[in-house]
């Protein structure tokens, strides 16, 4: 099914767009590979002898990557195996899970091969002895982690449980009654998929709140203990953007409910951004206050941090709107764009940031056009 979806998607794409993707994407990929090879070659001697990187950094990175990929791929396959149109067919739950497992395996295999090739090639470039063995080791770690995450998800039919939970959604006074009444009303409840505006407590929400709270307290403590504004300001900036990225959802922008209504793109977009921005700034205030208390003379540090938070939130809001149905892809793309711009800045200076700004403007323009014309 996924293969057919991919083929149908490619067939539905205009040839001109396909050519752009193939030529532009291929060119960029070739440039990126060449750039990485040059950078690896230059840093070869240092990388070869970095014990921490080979013993801890890379294994943890590949295990984490495998876990994330396994989780995402098995989730994708489960969603297809439990698709509504298949529900009427005489397929047992175990059979559907088996189908999903086969699908996840079929997707995981090429990913593992890519990891093995990339790591082996990178090791060969920097002159690391036993390059194929390192590639094989990285691929094994990735595959093990991928398989564990896949099995963990496939053994728990969360999709079915979610359906049952939504049927039993509680009804009462919506929690966001006061915050979500601005025009258009209830837009954030819709974006956050709160059933009738009620927040359902979940372990994900609790874990995210706990982690962010801990990071804030640690940052504030580090600043207050060292009488320096830096750690708390950085914690505020990083936590603020993370809160914004995790809370921004823009899928209503694709709905005909808004697209056929007398309301423009910018107004809807700003309204969708409003509550996540308030959450992000509310989170930022505590570490920023700690930074100011730790080093009152360095007031410009938390102020600059706040301004950067606004700029980054604005940029991510554009990515979130462009990838409106796939917030995870939006986060990855944004992080990738920032990392790439940061890397190129080292080589070409701050003029690269103009390119990043142009990309943000281009995505905003395309998203606005899509809202208007489909």
């Amino acid at each position: 099914m996924l293969w057919r979806e991919l083929v149908a998607g490619l067939c539905a794409t205009r040839r001109r767009d396909l050519a752009w993707i193939a030529l532009g994407g291929g060119g960029l990929l070739a440039y990126a590979i060449a750039d990485i090879v040059v950078a690896l070659h230059a840093a070869g001697p240092k990388l070869r002898h970095d014990q921490l990187l080979w013993m801890l950094g890379l294994p943890v990175a590949f295990a984490a990557l495998g876990w994330l990929a396994g989780n995402a791929m098995s989730r994708l396959c489960l969603s297809r195996a439990f698709a509504p149109f298949l529900k009427a067919l005489p397929l047992a739950s175990a059979e559907r899970r088996r189908m999903a497992a086969v699908g996840a395996f079929a997707l995981g295999l090429p990913l593992t091969l890519m990891i093995a090739t990339a790591v082996g090639f990178a090791c060969a470039v920097i002159g690391k002895p036993l390059a194929p063995a390192w590639g094989l080791g990285a691929a094994t770690l990735f595959a093990l982690s991928f398989g564990t995450a896949g099995l963990w998800r496939l053994r728990r039919p969360r999709l079915l449980v979610d359906v049952a939970a939504s049927e039993a959604a509680p009804v009462g006074r919506p929690w966001l009654r006061r915050l979500d009444r601005a025009r258009p009303s209830w837009l954030s409840s819709w974006a956050w998929k709160l059933p009738a505006g009620n927040i359902r407590p979940s372990w994900k929400l609790a874990a995210a709140s706990l982690l962010l709270g801990l990071a804030t307290i640690l940052g504030a403590w580090a600043s207050l203990a060292g009488h320096t504004a830096g750690p708390a300001a950085v914690a505020g900036l990083a936590g603020g953007i993370l809160v914004f990225m995790l809370s921004l959802r823009c899928q209503p922008l694709g709905s005909p409910v808004l697209r056929t209504a007398p309301i423009g793109f910018t107004r809807v977009w700003l309204r969708l951004v409003r509550l996540p921005l308030q959450l992000s700034l509310a989170f930022f205030l505590l570490p920023a206050g700690a930074a100011l208390a730790a080093e009152p003379s360095a007031w410009s540090v938390p102020v600059a941090s706040g301004l950067w938070l606004l700029v980054l939130n604005g940029a991510y809001a554009v990515f979130g709107a462009f990838f409106l149905n796939t917030p995870f892809v939006a986060m990855l793309s944004f992080a990738g764009a920032l990392a790439y711009a940061g890397y190129e800045t080292l080589e070409y200076g701050r003029t690269v940031l103009i390119g990043l700004a142009a990309l943000v403007f281009f995505l905003w323009h395309r998203t606005r056009q899509r809202y208007r014309n489909g």
Binding site: P256, I263, G374
Partner: protein, 250 residues
């Protein structure tokens, strides 16, 4: 009477592929136009083009005197579209959805055109009372259609558009909705487009009908022809089938 909708030489489609072409259509206040056609004939594409959901490849759409391409937000204030049931915001309750649409249109959530009809509140008459505070995700197809129709009627826009929304209603709700549409259009302030596959319902509800085939308007019926067809049982259906057969043979 003033034109509520003027469509001239409209061509539209998806990803550069033209699905409907050369469409010319005008609606005056008081008109109820039945939009007929086989599956894939282009009815929904035409409605998507008229409501600004897809880019026009050619031609123009003017709603209540405002060009859709030039001033889309102002033009969209001129129509109320009953959203397809599966496109409704499933997490919101029916009341929240009505409040969402009312907040966009700048009217009160109870600004529904039922004051001049006997029987009180329209949402109550559509039997939505016990569902109104539940999430739309829990609604049946018919209940979703009812809430979509209720939202389309908010603030009484001059042009009402129903894309097969009436098909899923129960008999009582269908009767209530038809009564409201007829009363609104008879008042001379509104016009309606009703896209449907229920051919036999058209002469009773509409005063004009158009048939779409292969992406263009292949036949139309005026008020007199529809009234004539309504006298003999099955006459209008026979007329539609004949037009479809001729089109298929051509």
């Amino acid at each position: 009477m003033a034109e509520v909708l003027t469509v001239k030489e409209l061509s539209a489609g998806y990803h550069g592929r033209i699905v409907v072409r050369g469409i010319g259509l005008s609606l005056h206040r008081g008109d109820i136009v039945g939009l007929l056609g086989a599956n894939g004939s282009g009815k929904s594409t035409l409605i998507r083009a008229i409501t600004g959901q897809i880019r026009l490849i050619g031609g123009s759409v003017v709603i209540d005197g405002i060009d859709l391409a030039a001033a889309p937000e102002r033009a969209k204030a001129g129509f109320g579209l009953a959203i397809e049931p599966h496109e409704l915001p499933a997490p919101l309750s029916g009341r929240q959805y009505i409040e969402l649409v009312a907040s966009i249109r700048g009217c009160a959530p109870n600004d529904l055109p039922s004051g001049d009809l006997p029987g009180g509140d329209l949402l109550e008459r559509l039997d939505l009372g016990r569902w109104i505070d539940r999430p739309i995700a829990e609604y049946s197809l018919g209940t979703r259609a009812k809430i979509a129709i209720g939202a389309a009627l908010l603030d009484g826009p001059p042009l009402l558009i129903f894309d097969e929304t009436l098909n899923g209603l129960d008999p009582v709700a269908a009767w209530e909705v038809k009564r409201v549409i007829t009363a609104l259009c008879a008042s001379g302030r509104h016009a309606a487009i009703v896209s449907t596959h229920v051919v036999e319902a058209v002469p009773a509800l509409c005063n004009r009908a158009v048939l779409m085939a292969d992406g263009s308007l292949s036949r139309s019926w005026d008020a007199a022809q529809l009234a004539e067809a309504a006298r003999a049982p099955g006459a209008f259906e026979e007329s539609v089938m004949q037009a479809l057969r001729m089109r298929a043979a051509a």
